[in-house]
């Protein structure tokens, strides 16, 4: 694994905006950054990223199978009791998930380590699937990177195939916070892939979902919502007023309710408990578990529910040296051992390893001067050399 500096395309902003990627910069700062790229060997991709990603996902599915009917697990994950039947039923019914992203610590030396699993509402999928690929093709054409460069990336075509299997010709609603550019862009991209899979689609803001007087979720035209992709976290849906309606509605949600187990940082100690010393896991414990002392005074503290690094704290020898602010933490924290995270040109990279229908199929990389990857961390392309 190397970080290689390269020239950027002089027209990349126009190219981005032409295909709907208008959140390429955040607050005037670059979010997409192609002044460098990360290079991997094919062996690194296949043996150290693709293989372990499939193995970690399989462990996660085994964990979900154990957790959904086990009160102890569900309590440890702080999933509200009222929603245990929703979570369990969706699992036993075999409700399909579409995609997810493992965040991995990887240096090229030693095994990749699971930092967390964005199983419920992963963003950056358009950038990873499409814009990163466009970069590869154009950078080769313009002789900015070697002609033989390749990329680990079949996310786009797998999403289309996934929609064909999951949608089976049904009408698909897509919902989320459409006033947010990043979420709207992610939803528009997923709508595009669903359309290419032959599904009729309707986009609707999460706040515009209605509840029919006789029961059932409806859109603004009072059409039944039978199958819906949501880019809105399960833990928020549980708290919202309509959360109480979820159990009585026939709606099928993507990602399904059982993903509430996997999007919870509590899976990190549960995985470590289930597969101790697994080479792709870091030691992790619930903060109130006496075994957390095994980590000593240096560890990463993460809220059970958190997104984009919010409320994550890095503690070395008892002293916090990095922290992201945020609203999370009321449900408790876990502690995880530090991953070996050397810097590349002064940057901390985190690998996003993508799965569609549980098949590992792509890679994206966020980097930051800050060791906690957050909303403003830049996304860089990768290539196989």
């Amino acid at each position: 694994m190397q970080r290689i500096t390269c020239p950027e395309r002089d027209d990349w902003r126009a190219t981005a905006e032409a295909c709907g990627f208008d959140f390429h910069s955040v607050g005037g700062e670059r979010y997409w950054d192609e002044r460098g790229y990360y290079a991997f060997t094919l062996e690194e991709i296949e043996r150290q990223i693709e293989g372990p990603t499939g193995e970690i996902d399989a462990m996660c599915l085994e964990l979900v199978g154990r957790a959904v009917d086990d009160e102890q697990y569900l309590r440890r994950l702080r999933i509200p009791e009222a929603f245990w039947p929703l979570v369990a039923e969706s699992w036993h019914r075999g409700d399909a998930g579409l995609y997810g992203r493992l965040d991995l610590g990887f240096t090229g030396h030693g095994p990749a380590k699971l930092l967390e699993y964005n199983a419920d509402t992963p963003t950056t999928v358009f950038e990873a699937a499409v814009f990163q690929w466009t970069w590869l093709e154009q950078a080769i054409e313009r002789r900015m990177i070697p002609k033989a460069a390749d990329q680990y990336n079949s996310i786009h075509e797998r999403l289309i195939e996934g929609w064909k299997r999951i949608g089976k010709g049904r009408h698909l609603h897509l919902t989320g916070v459409t006033g947010d550019a990043e979420d709207a862009g992610t939803l528009a991209y997923l709508e595009d892939t669903a359309t290419q899979a032959g599904l009729a689609t309707t986009m609707i803001d999460i706040e515009d979902i209605g509840w029919r007087e006789q029961g059932g979720f409806v859109d603004l035209e009072r059409r039944d919502i039978g199958l819906v992709f949501k880019l809105y976290p399960w833990e928020w849906m549980f708290r919202d007023e309509f959360g109480a309606k979820l159990l009585e509605a026939p709606t099928r949600w993507i990602e399904p309710p059982w993903k509430a187990v996997l999007s919870n940082k509590g899976i990190l100690p549960l995985l470590w408990e289930m597969c101790p010393n697994h080479p792709n896991l870091l030691p992790a414990f619930f903060e109130d578990d006496p075994r957390a002392r095994e980590l000593g005074t240096s560890f990463v503290r993460k809220p059970l529910y958190s997104r984009e690094g919010a409320n994550v704290m890095l503690i070395s020898e008892g002293v916090a040296f990095a922290e992201q602010e945020g609203p999370y933490g009321a449900e408790g924290f876990i502690r995880q051992a530090f991953a070996d995270m050397p810097r590349f040109s002064g940057q901390y990279p985190v690998l996003g390893s993508w799965l569609v229908e549980h098949t590992p199929c792509g890679l994206s990389i966020r980097e930051d001067e800050n060791p906690i990857t957050g909303n403003s961390s830049r996304l860089l392309p990768h290539a196989i050399l």
Binding site: G20, L42, D183, A184, G210
Partner: protein
């Protein structure tokens, strides 16, 4: 583990059929205007006898507003 044939994707074609700046803009603005029945209201039939809105809206999104209300500016559903 995928074989090299499925991993090496130089021949892949990544196409978008409908996504573009205009589409994103449309999403941000909302594709369909809200009906008159706002959050918590159940509309009734009009004089023409047609039901205009018999649903309650606004039951999702509260947690997002709660976080915004606490001053956490950049909150959204994805992560």
């Amino acid at each position: 583990m995928a074989d090299k044939g499925s991993l090496m994707k130089r021949s892949r074609r990544v196409m978008l059929t409908m996504m573009g700046s205009a589409a994103i803009g449309a999403v941000s603005m909302g594709f369909v205007p809200k009906p008159r029945c706002g959050p918590g209201e159940i509309a009734v039939g009009g004089e023409d006898g047609r039901l205009h809105c018999r649903a309650t809206y606004g039951g999702f999104g509260g947690t997002l507003h709660h976080f915004h209300g606490e001053g956490h500016g950049h909150m959204h559903g994805g992560g």
